[in-house]
């Protein structure tokens, strides 16, 4: 702890930070532009000036930039001196010289850091009589809108895009006062974190293009804390709603998880909520008439009555869970049909992998690190995972981890780590160890120490060998080439040298051996006493949660349906066509006597339903999810209940009600369901305490979803009814659909917006943190469910696969994930769909040559249960004999990976 004197009052602050973050941590308002808590200080904007005094007797002082000055013990500063005010006012006036008269039509208006800082610094009138500088804008693709006139040259955008996120297609151009931030020429920003420019830019140069289509000011958005549904990481988001549609996603700071940044899939993937494939009505297929049956709207009571008839008829009803539905919805369905009739809604190989991941994480000894811990690891081994495309935000954290090792140099030179300019001078191009083994080249390869593209089984073999090299107890891999042996020994040595090594793997290459190998490596490292972390990626937002609840295999489920011993099949938020090949799924659904689908999107499965119950998307559902780290988090609905849409667990509760169950009240709301879950599965014990209970009140009040400036309350619905209906209730959460309530800082898991008096932009997050870059006040949201038990019995996996051998005529088909396209829901949004590549099949150039195919020519691929004709894409990095098929880009997409397929020659 250091003691600093601010205007002669002593304060205790953490060591090793700069004055700006120390002052902000203490709650003082100091204006700044170029400093960013995650990207640290470069001292470019000159706004954060303070006056520093040598000692008590010094009354003159000197003006310094607080972001460039360490808050060392005994520092004496004034942050509110007349000279300081004059200085800041002059700086802001210079910064505003060319700022256009745009605020009314600027999307940043009302949440603009520049507005806030201008007001804070007291600049009011433009005195400059000269003309303003202008620029031509660029079209930066479907996500980001560019308005260069508004730029104040703080350099935050390039520092984020190039230095932090590793983007290459964006830079700063020009000379003199004609600096331009953009691309070389018009075109889409390629980096998958470009959306963060919206929040990083202190003014309106980069704004959200998806919001622009349906623009709403920050204060008019009804917002609620949510969890991103688009991958297994469960990044925290803030969802904004207006007039019944979702308008945008903002990052919700979580110290342990996503910090200040989101990926573009998470930020712009929300558009599916508003798409026309949403189901908004209760639909029933009327089979009594002609054979051409269509889904038709029906009264709710009538539908529930016929549902209860089905259950009373006695024949078994089976249910299929979903990795994208909440824990509560899955558990309700499991309780409705009975545990013996509940099946896991993922393909068998995937279920196997998820179960193995859970087993490994539970038995330990390595624990699954949070994203913050990932950033701090100093040696990383990635086995078989294309992280950027399966869990994008993890890739951003891994990109930061390669800066850990070089930081030792920085520390040796006694340069503070927050002095970003100097740090980059020292580090230059030095990078920490990062080894990537994957079937195809990944976007992280540019920072990797060594990358190698191999078949999944070969990746697993290398992994096993590394484990053996670290700990001879681990099983060795026989007949490995000397080359690989040397490489493995090399990597083993590096990992052993590191203080916090990390192994990343996952379901991405569809091989359980890779998962085993990753477990072996961390186990070996742990046995050597290393604090090794093991991070597995999982495909969907609740894959791990569903795995923890457990259930029958989907193949058993299909078998029961085919044997016609089942009366009714309930599918919860799942598209079977993504779980199994078309032929199989068609067969199953045609054989099924009665199909009930609870979903929010009109999927192929939903089209075949006999009864279709419209459930809520993430924006309309309160529920809990378990991310790949094993962290359980609660999301809260932001769209008030409208029409017939209700949460999946409410539909199941309605069915239970119509059956007059006596244990009924236990399923009425997520909290009671959570209690039941906690009682049935010890692992879910923390679930009821994941977020404050619905009875929670701050100063006797609920937490309002609407800001205190929310407008149009008496006019929004006036065209429908002038009688101003009462705002909807929300009995399931401590949040309310209202402006009334506690507008201060709520508990961390209920933060519905970042706002503080005078701080309208997302920079106001500093008022919600216990210290800059620290946890949120009151602790970060979420509870870790899986911790390796100290007494966990573990042993090395010995099931080492045979090496991969290319075969004539047969190709090994492996999955290729795409950040835009591979995920089911986000692909439905118009902005994301612009970024989705066309379907293709990727093969090695030599293979293409032997096939006699050029790029773009179609080939016919036939597997066990499918045959498709797709254009060829030549991928140089792909090993020979392996075929990469993009996941999710085909309309019918349920291929089993990996499998051997043939190319039908024409």
């Amino acid at each position: 702890m250091a003691t600093i004197f601010i205007d002669n009052v002593p304060y205790h602050v953490q060591d090793g930070q700069n004055l700006l973050s120390a002052c902000l941590s203490l709650g003082f308002n100091i204006p700044y532009f170029c400093w960013h808590p995650a990207m640290h200080a470069v001292g470019a904007c000159r706004m954060c000036a303070v006056k520093q005094f040598r000692d008590e007797s010094d009354t003159r002082g000197s003006i310094v930039m607080s972001c460039m000055t360490p808050a060392s013990d005994g520092t004496r500063v004034s942050i509110d001196d007349d000279d300081i005010r004059e200085f800041r006012a002059a700086v802001i006036e210079f910064l505003m010289l060319n700022h256009p008269h745009d605020c009314p039509v600027c999307d940043e208006g009302g949440e603009c850091h520049l507005q806030d800082m201008t007001v804070l610094s007291g600049h009011v009138y433009r005195r400059n009589r000269f003309k303003k500088r202008t620029y031509i804008n660029q079209n930066l693709g479907p996500f980001i809108n560019h308005e260069m006139n508004r730029c104040i040259q703080c350099y935050r955008c390039v520092r984020f895009y190039r230095d932090y996120a590793g983007g290459r297609d964006f830079n700063v151009f020009g000379v003199h006062d004609r600096i331009y931030f953009g691309r070389c020429s018009d075109g889409t920003l390629e980096n998958e974190f470009s959306g963060n420019l919206v929040e990083v830019c202190p003014t309106g140069v980069f704004t959200d293009k998806t919001l622009r289509k349906q623009y709403t000011r920050k204060w008019d958005l009804q917002t609620a804390p949510s969890v991103c549904p688009h991958c297994g990481l469960g990044c925290n988001t803030i969802v904004g709603e207006r007039y019944g549609s979702v308008r945008r996603i903002l990052n919700r700071y979580n110290h342990e998880l996503n910090g200040y940044f989101l990926c573009d899939r998470g930020r712009f993937g929300y558009e599916f909520v508003n798409c026309d494939r949403r189901i908004r009505q209760l639909l029933v297929k009327d089979k009594s008439g002609d054979s051409e049956a269509f889904l038709q709207p029906i009264e709710k009571q009538q539908a529930l009555h016929s549902l209860s008839e089905i259950f009373r008829s006695g024949a078994p009803v089976i249910g299929l869970g979903s990795p994208r539905a909440s824990l509560e919805a899955n558990f309700s369905l499991r309780s409705l049909v009975g545990p013996e009739n509940f099946y896991i809604g993922i393909s068998d190989p995937e279920f196997q992998m998820i179960s193995r991941i859970i087993e490994v994480l539970r038995n330990g000894p390595a624990h699954s690190p949070s994203l913050r811990e990932v950033e701090q690891s100093d040696a990383v081994l990635i086995l078989g995972e294309d992280v950027t495309n399966t869990a994008p935000r993890l890739a951003l954290s891994l990109r930061q981890s390669v800066r850990q090792k070089p930081m030792e140099m920085v520390d040796r030179l006694k340069v503070p780590r927050w002095l970003d300019g100097s740090v980059r001078q020292i580090v230059q191009e030095n990078k920490g160890p990062l080894y990537i083994f994957s079937p195809v080249a990944t976007r992280l390869d540019d920072v990797a120490t060594k990358t190698l593209q191999l078949a999944p089984d070969d990746i697993a073999r290398i992994g096993f060998q590394i484990a053996h090299e670290i700990d001879p107890e681990a099983p060795p891999v026989s007949d490995l080439t000397a080359n690989f042996r040397g490489l493995a020994a090399n990597i083993a040595e590096t990992l052993k040298q590191a203080s916090v090594p990390l192994v990343v793997s996952g379901t991405g290459c569809g091989s359980i051996h890779v998962i085993n190998a990753a477990a072996n490596v961390t186990r070996a490292l742990r046995s050597k006493g290393k604090r090794a972390g093991l991070s597995y990626t999982v495909p969907e937002c609740n894959s791990l949660g569903l795995g923890l609840i457990g259930g029958g295999n989907i193949s058993d489920c299909f078998q029961r349906i085919m044997s016609c011993s089942v009366n009714t099949f309930i599918v919860l938020e799942n598209d079977l066509y993504r779980r199994a090949e078309v032929q199989i799924t068609d067969q199953i659904l045609n054989n099924c006597k009665r199909l009930i689908v609870i979903d929010h999107i009109m999927s192929r499965t939903a089209e075949k339903a006999d009864i279709m119950l419209p459930s809520g998307t993430f924006a309309e559902t309160t529920g809990s999810f378990v991310n790949s780290e094993g962290r359980c988090q609660r999301q809260f609905r932001v769209i008030p209940p409208t029409g017939e849409i209700q949460e999946a667990h409410q539909w199941i509760f309605d069915i239970m009600t119509s059956l007059q169950w006596d244990t009924l009240r236990h399923f009425s709301d997520i909290e009671s369901i959570g209690e039941l879950l906690a009682a049935e599965f010890p692992v879910f014990k923390p679930l009821p305490e994941v977020a404050p209970r619905s009875s929670f009140r701050e100063f006797g009040q609920k937490i309002p979803r609407q800001s205190h400036r929310y407008s149009g309350r008496t006019s929004m619905l006036a065209n429908i009814t002038v009688n101003e209906p009462k705002p909807p209730d929300d009995p399931e959460s401590p949040l309310s659909f209202s402006m009334e309530g506690y507008q201060g800082i709520p508990p961390a898991s209920l933060i519905q917006r970042f706002w503080a008096p005078g701080w309208n932009s997302s920079q106001s997050v500093n008022k919600f943190q216990s210290e800059i870059n620290g946890p949120l006040i009151g602790g970060d949201p979420g509870q870790r469910l899986i911790e390796p038990s100290a007494s966990g019995k573990w042993s090395y996996f010995t099931d080492i696969p045979e090496p991969y051998k290319p075969q004539d005529d047969l190709w090994l088909m492996i999955p290729k994930f795409h950040v835009f396209g591979s995920e089911e829901l986000s692909s439905l949004g118009p902005a994301i769909s612009e970024r989705i590549p066309k379907p293709y099949v990727g093969i090695n150039p030599k293979d293409a040559e032997s096939l006699g195919k050029q790029e773009g020519e179609k080939v016919a691929v036939a597997g066990e249960n499918f045959s498709i004709s797709v254009p060829v894409r030549i991928i140089k990095s792909l090993p020979r004999g392996i075929m990469a098929l993009p996941v999710g880009l085909f309309t019918l997409d349920g291929f089993t990976f990996p499998q051997w397929v043939r190319i039908v020659r024409d």
Partner: protein, 171 residues
């Protein structure tokens, strides 16, 4: 005591004073130009809608009786997709006019708005929009704003330099 009597005497003297009351429907009162009556949306001198859908009027409204949705044409000109005022809630405080950065929303002299049905108090954009510039004849926001719209490219606003050529390295 005498003050009481004096007060009563003064009141009694008012018996022969002229009455202040204006007999309203027969005789219309004189209203100043600043009168805060029925709200309108005006057009700029070029005949375009002045409203840029910035939401400031809605935010300023103490009874929250203004709701709107922004949209824009293909050239970037922003305007309200709908603009609704619930006059059965409006208190004619004039905050919206004060908040408006483009002089689009203005309060007029008209106050005779009696209706038998509350539905008739819901004014949509087509009811609010007039065909002239109202009290401020000359102002045109888009002529001073930095964004480009149809017919006005970058750097063509008042007090703007032509766009920079970022490829030039001339000092």
């Amino acid at each position: 005591m005498f003050s009481l009597l004096k007060g009563m005497w003064i009141v009694l003297k008012h018996t022969i004073r002229k009455r202040e009351t204006v007999l309203y429907p027969e005789e219309k009162p004189i209203r100043s130009p600043r009168w805060r009556g029925r709200i309108i949306l005006s057009r700029d001198p070029d005949g375009w809608e002045r409203c840029v859908a910035c939401y400031l009027c809605a935010a300023a409204c103490p009874v929250d009786c203004i709701s709107l949705q922004a949209t824009q044409d293909e050239h970037g000109r922003r305007y309200p997709e709908f603009f609704r005022i619930n006059f059965s809630r409006c208190i004619f405080c004039g905050f919206c006019e004060e908040a408006c950065p483009t002089y689009a929303i203005q309060l007029t002299n008209d106050f005779e708005m009696g209706e038998y049905s509350r539905h008739n108090f819901i004014y949509e954009k087509e009811h609010l929009l007039i065909s002239g510039p109202g009290k401020y004849p000359d102002y045109n926001f888009y002529r001073v704003a930095g964004i480009s719209i149809a017919g006005k490219g970058k750097g063509e606003s008042e007090n703007e330099k032509p766009p920079e050529d970022v490829h030039s390295l001339m000092p």
